[in-house]
Symmetry: C2
Subunit: 308 residues, 2 copies
């Protein structure tokens, strides 16, 4: 289908932003880890329990004003399968609160393997006659280096489960240009990848806001490219990382939005998760600080969209 | 460091092949899943237990004649965190039998996130003062679309933990050419990526067989490119998928090897895992069939190397 389910939540909350959930146990409030260690000892179970507890507090604090969360798989895998259980619990909890979940895995592989990833993150599988959604996300970030074979199994899931994908186009990191900015014929690699997103998106019905199920990841740290891509990729919704800790501001991301103020969702992870540190607040108030920062970010971005 | 630990196991076994562990519960012997369901019910725990039981049988059957296994993360994630636990158990078991483990995750992200993936799959993390290797693989496959930022944290792990990485260069799937074969200046994208592998590899000491810690994934299904890349990438060891079920044969992969018969390891997954089906053997003899096929594959490849 399309990304309409996400866009409708953005419209409803009046907030085109997503909070990244990328917790590290060294960075979360110490009392949460201490409690978990008191219960489970110095184990990966304790790490996983602490991640989930921290995320639950964040979700409770923002679910009514933020449309989506984006857990980053790496930070859960870093605590073993016990951490991956916390990823599952986090996704389930965010969905129970009505949030749209973008699983940030940047998965990629050959077709048969992408079918497995698709089942894992967007679809369902059966054990005997009992069906399970192994992770149950609403969208998955993917890497398109392998071409269409690696994308098509996901399109099937998008269609059947009303889900979406976001393909890496122009990433937010400093070295993204080493390959992505190089010319392939008369276009850059990121332009070529962007064009493929449009083409893949057109294989499914376009949603009522004009966007397909195939979004693109375009970094806030490259505002000129964001502007350019918004003009050329008319059916491709953008997931924009790099606001906040990575250096992007509201002025940098305003070009990601269409004339209706839609077309993109801006991610902040560390800026929201650890807002209590920057605000000089007690660690026990981390959720309040996160809500304050989520509101500030929303207002910052929507004001820039309105005033452009 | 380098990939010497892998190469030494290849030399010792006289076998430049790796068995991919990509099990699906529909495809493994039925009695294994039935036993797991009898114990755990129709649950993801049962699926995970069945995967591990199947893998254990394969590892027991091949560990003395095959230097390495390559579990594909997707097939474990497909059964939720319970499946990911089976990935952990499989890696630990293979290592306990002396095998080299290549975790096939094709991970990729910005630097700070790749540090998390690096800790997850190659390194260690601490909970309080207790250290854990969350997954404990010896090498990880990665995707280089984000450039050097996404690779450098892994080089640190390669150096400190004597591990390796394999970067996707020319993949085995039919659509790999859509991007990888396109010209970027006067080179193809896969040539450019290959050159980056050489450069990244040179950032660490080169091993005694002449290869760095940074390998490349080059598909058996593209023999001309395999030949070409072996000639130009002199310090880059190759992981070659696509033998067997994907259509590559020994004649196709012989170009991957250097004059000493080293420089590459050839992967077969389905061909070995499900050899009992092709051989018409009872499903309870799956491990025997896998060993037979592993021996046949070894002899097929080494004969072609000798006779070229």
């Amino acid at each position: 289908m399309s990304l309409d389910r996400l866009i409708e939540k953005i419209v409803k909350t009046g907030n085109p932003s997503v909070v990244g959930l990328d917790p590290k146990i060294e960075d979360i409030p110490k009392y949460i880890l201490d409690n978990a260690i008191a219960q489970y000892g110095e184990t990966l179970e304790a790490a996983g329990a602490a991640l989930f507890e921290f995320n639950k507090g964040l979700i409770d604090a923002i679910y009514d004003i933020v449309p989506a969360v984006k857990p980053q798989c790496a930070y859960y895998e870093m605590y073993g399968w016990q951490g991956v259980k916390a990823l599952y619990d986090t996704i389930a909890y965010a969905k129970s609160k009505g949030m749209f979940v973008i699983t940030d895995g940047k998965r990629n592989d050959i077709g048969s393997t992408m079918e497995a990833y698709s089942n894992a993150h967007l679809g369902t599988i059966k054990v005997g006659s009992t069906e399970f959604a192994p992770f149950g996300g609403d969208a998955l970030t993917v890497n398109g280096y392998l071409g269409s074979d690696g994308i098509k199994p996901l399109l099937k899931a998008c269609d059947e489960k009303d889900c979406g994908i976001f393909v890496l186009v122009k990433t937010s990191n400093p070295s993204s240009g080493e390959l992505q900015d190089q010319k392939m014929g008369d276009k850059t690699l990121y332009n070529v990848m962007g064009d493929m997103c449009e083409k893949w998106g057109e294989m499914l019905p376009i949603g009522k806001y004009g966007y397909s199920a195939v979004g693109a990841v375009v970094g806030a740290t490259y505002p000129a490219q964001l502007d350019e891509l918004r003009k050329t990729l008319t059916k491709t919704f953008f997931l924009v990382p790099g606001y906040g800790a990575q250096g992007g501001g509201a002025a940098d991301v305003v070009g990601a939005f269409d004339k209706n103020g839609l077309g993109a969702i801006i991610n902040s992870s560390r800026g929201v998760m650890y807002a209590y540190k920057k605000a000089g607040m007690d660690e026990r108030d981390y959720a309040v600080a996160a809500r304050n920062e989520a509101i500030r970010m929303r207002d910052d971005i929507t004001a820039h969209i309105k005033n452009r």
